[in-house]
């Protein structure tokens, strides 16, 4: 999204501007879930996305590193409990990603939809 509110017009070159951190399917699933809720613990995100524990852990670490997801660790009794929440920076990046993808895929030329090989 450009600063004046107009939609970006991704070209072939524009494809490279798509946020690859979000574009990866597992991370996209995590961010899509966190975008529509307030927060969830690690187990809930694991159940909803269908990712394995290790897989989810590594993706969350990357998203946390990028500042897209806030990870809050607490203790419930003697057990560690991790809560995940999308940061405002993550929300901005996710909205921008949605805009780019929608724009990119919205207008095929001519009869491209009918081309079946």
């Amino acid at each position: 999204m450009q600063g004046d509110g107009r939609r970006a017009e991704p070209t072939q070159a524009g494809l490279s501007e798509i946020d690859r951190l979000i574009h990866e399917p597992a991370r996209l699933a995590i961010l899509s879930l966190l975008f529509v809720i307030e927060s969830a613990d690690f187990l809930f995100v694991m159940r909803q996305t269908g990712l394995t524990r290790g897989n989810l852990s590594s993706h969350v670490s990357r998203l946390e590193g990028a500042g897209y997801v806030a990870v809050e660790k607490q203790f419930k009794g003697k057990r560690p409990h991790t809560t995940l929440r999308m940061t405002s920076e993550g929300r901005v990046a996710f909205r921008e990603y949605r805009t780019q993808i929608e724009t990119l895929l919205s207008q095929p030329p001519g009869n491209a939809d009918d081309n079946v090989t």
Partner: protein, 197 residues
Amino acid sequence: MPTIGLAGIERRAWLSYHDDGLMDLAFGVLLILSFLGSVADRYRYAAYVLLLLVGPLLALAKRKITVPRLGAVQFSPERKARKRHVVVVIAGLVGVTAVVILTIGDQTWLQAHPAAVAALIAAMVFLAFAAVAYWMDLARMYVVGLLFGSAFGLTELMDTPFPLLAAGTVVALSGAVRLARFLRSYAPTEVDLTDAG
């Protein structure tokens, strides 16, 4: 190829959190306790005390059964606002019912028109569940509301509490089946990032 948008993702998360059958089980038990309160002279008050405990027990069961298996989640403010709608509508229904009864105010009229009283009670009870079904996005609560409304209406009309027992048993059993399915689908897990491999 299945496709699901962001709204679908949110709805699926919401429904899975409420697919443990605990709410249905609690509503079924409410009806059964209402029946017991009506027929058990000696233990009537025990049944009514248990009625008051159903809500707290449901919250406890959610924490002890659902959360360890499915995880904990805070839904969006929109979802929370919808819950508040339900509370307002139910409070409104209780208020309207009270006003109607106080306006009529005549016991003899009420006794002379049992069908009208039964229909009013059934409608109010159904509307309360319809509010839950609509604003909490839980379609099966329409059916529970029909059973509840019919049970209270028929109890008033036929002057017997057995409709409460019948409807309560159906609702509780459907909740138990849902709970069994939930327990089979989700084993309790104590995972955390700290012990992830």
